[in-house]
């Protein structure tokens, strides 16, 4: 059974794979410090990955014992990453009514502060952020008041996205890795446009405005998801990280879920699978997230890692309706003794492995880890995660 077949079975739950699939997302710091012989420039790395995914991303993960997973991603607003732009950029005419002027407004030894000034037929807008090391963070947001919503009509049209490079990369890899393309969900994109603290208060101050923003964002995202259907990716991780900051079921149901539902449906129409990404809290509206129709739910973060999910509880509540994609506490991979790592794998498999529909995956990305511990994690899962599963408790730890 190849990697994609195995993970597809877990995602779709139409049958049992040979064993539980094992995925992880290797963070940039881990790749730079532990995987590469010496640190490399990010742009060079991205070019290598695009040209030779099998010899780089796929090989590194396979060598550690993982089922390789490729996590490309779409551009978020306010993000200056080279990776998404290298993979898919817009045709020139997509910018006809959305002209961006980038101005450096501050510079220090370690950081640069940039302002994007946007010119559209509906007027001007601006947002700024600071860049340092691998990250950039917003200082102010595009949507400062209700009138700025008009600007959004002129954002580059996803239909004009050139996806050839992503498509070529996907073809090179075939079924030797699971493709999980990351793209924002509507609440995340709304938060990026408005700032999450302000957006949270808008929920109470101007609920109509929030719905308007969510509508605009959702309509555009649906187009993006449809376009991504041309690339052959297996699945998308619909990034709703900001849902995990702690929201009431009521707010989730009224302001977020209807839009999430539409996005999930658009992805299915485009012919690929969707994993709902909430890496924080959400146990209070677990059933609602599942009811969006997503195929998988990530990252089921345990309390020890700042989430509020208990994998066994999640399996009991929704395990018959969705693939569970996560739950492993990756903090153990850094310094814990191998026996602890083994116990954690068994805990996850005992909690959620039964009957399929489970993928062992670190709940967060791996930034710092002893590679030997990753090997222990993978080996334990390969042995202990076979289907049909051994009777519970046999050979397992309490």
């Amino acid at each position: 059974m190849n990697v994609a077949e195995r993970t597809r079975l877990a995602f779709t739950r139409v049958g049992l794979p040979d064993r539980v699939p094992i995925h992880a997302w290797l963070g940039m710091t881990f790749i730079q410090r532990t995987v590469l012989p010496r640190p490399a420039r990010m742009t060079d790395l991205f070019h290598q990955w695009i040209d030779d995914p099998l010899g780089t991303l796929v090989k590194w993960q396979a060598d550690l014992g993982l089922d390789p997973m490729i996590t490309t991603h779409s551009q978020h607003i306010g993000e200056l990453e080279r990776w998404p732009r290298l993979l898919c950029d817009f045709k020139e005419d997509a910018y006809a009514h959305w002209r961006e002027e980038i101005v450096e407004i501050d510079r220090s030894e370690s950081s640069r502060t940039l302002e994007h000034r946007i010119h559209t037929p509906a007027g001007e807008g601006a947002y700024s952020y600071r860049m340092e090391g691998y990250s950039d963070w917003p200082l102010d947001y595009l949507i400062k008041d209700e009138a700025d919503l008009d600007l959004l009509h002129y954002r580059p049209d996803p239909d004009l996205l050139v996806v050839d490079r992503l498509k070529a990369m996907v073809e090179k890899v075939g079924d030797r890795a699971w493709w999980l393309h990351h793209a924002p969900g509507p609440w995340n994109e709304a938060a990026e446009l408005r700032g999450v603290t302000t957006l949270s208060m808008d929920l109470y101050d101007r609920p109509e405005f929030v719905h308007k923003l969510m509508r605009l964002v959702t309509d555009r995202l649906k187009k993006l998801y449809r376009k991504l259907g041309e690339t052959g990716i297996h699945s998308v991780s619909m990034n709703e990280t900001w849902v995990g900051m702690g929201l009431s079921p009521h707010i989730y149901q009224e302001f977020i879920k209807p839009y999430d539902d539409e996005c999930v449906a658009a992805i299915h129409e485009a012919g690929y699978l969707v994993s709902y990404h909430n890496c924080g809290r959400g146990t209070r509206f677990l059933e609602d997230m599942v009811a969006t129709g997503a195929d998988a739910l990530e990252t089921i973060t345990p309390v020890e890692n700042s989430g509020d999910f208990d994998l066994a509880d999640v399996k009991r509540r929704v395990g018959d309706r969705i693939c569970l994609f996560g739950g492993f506490n990756e903090r153990l991979l850094d310094e814990a003794a191998p026996a602890k790592v083994r116990d954690e794998v068994k805990r996850c498999l005992d909690a959620a492995g039964e009957g399929g529909g489970y993928i062992l995956r670190t709940s967060g990305a791996i930034y710092q880890a002893d590679p030997r511990n990753i090997e222990v994690m993978c080996q334990t899962a390969r042995d202990y995660g076979r289907y049909p599963r051994p009777a519970q408790g046999a050979g397992g730890s309490a």
């Binding site: 109470y204 702690g246 009431s248």
Partner: protein, 217 residues
Amino acid sequence: MDDVLQAIYDSILEGRVTEVAAEVQRALAAGHPAGVILNQAMIAAMAEVGRRFETMEYFVPEMLVAARAMKEGLALLRPALVGAQIEPVGKVVLGTVSGDLHDIGKNLVGMVLEGAGFEVVDLGVNVPPEAFVAAVREHRPQVVGLSALLTTTMLAMKATIEALRAAGLRDQVVVMVGGAPVTPAFADRIGADLYAPEAASAAARARSRFADQGGAE
């Protein structure tokens, strides 16, 4: 509770910012002492917000609007408090530590502290130890609040405390730490003075610390 005090209490609890302002004015006009308005209506309301947050009746947005209403009410009350010689509780320099960009929790803590009567100097995110040291020199706060959401950046809290010590400022401030991965044991280990698991208890603990000490030095 008197009607108007009850109205202030309810408005804060529900985050109704314009109503709070009007009601505080009404309460002052009706002759309620500023200290009574503050303690019986406003601080009591924030305590209830904290309780509801703990029992998961309230979540982040509800806490944010309540804290903002509190802040608004307090701004109106401040002249009366000054008149009654009720001083701000103290000054807090607050920031998310070096390498960390998460600020939702930090913002919330800042707003609740302001609501509890502290003056807050917010240094933003990714604040290096030297910047905390410089801000302590400049603003002379009684409290330094450090927020971290990543296991990797929790270590920057320790570095910040050490930088304060190296600058000879450690004894002049109470260092309060928090953020989802931070535990009381970790706070102890790095030599912090106070830890709180969420914003409302952060404000309560900081306040009682000053009550114990009879205010700041």
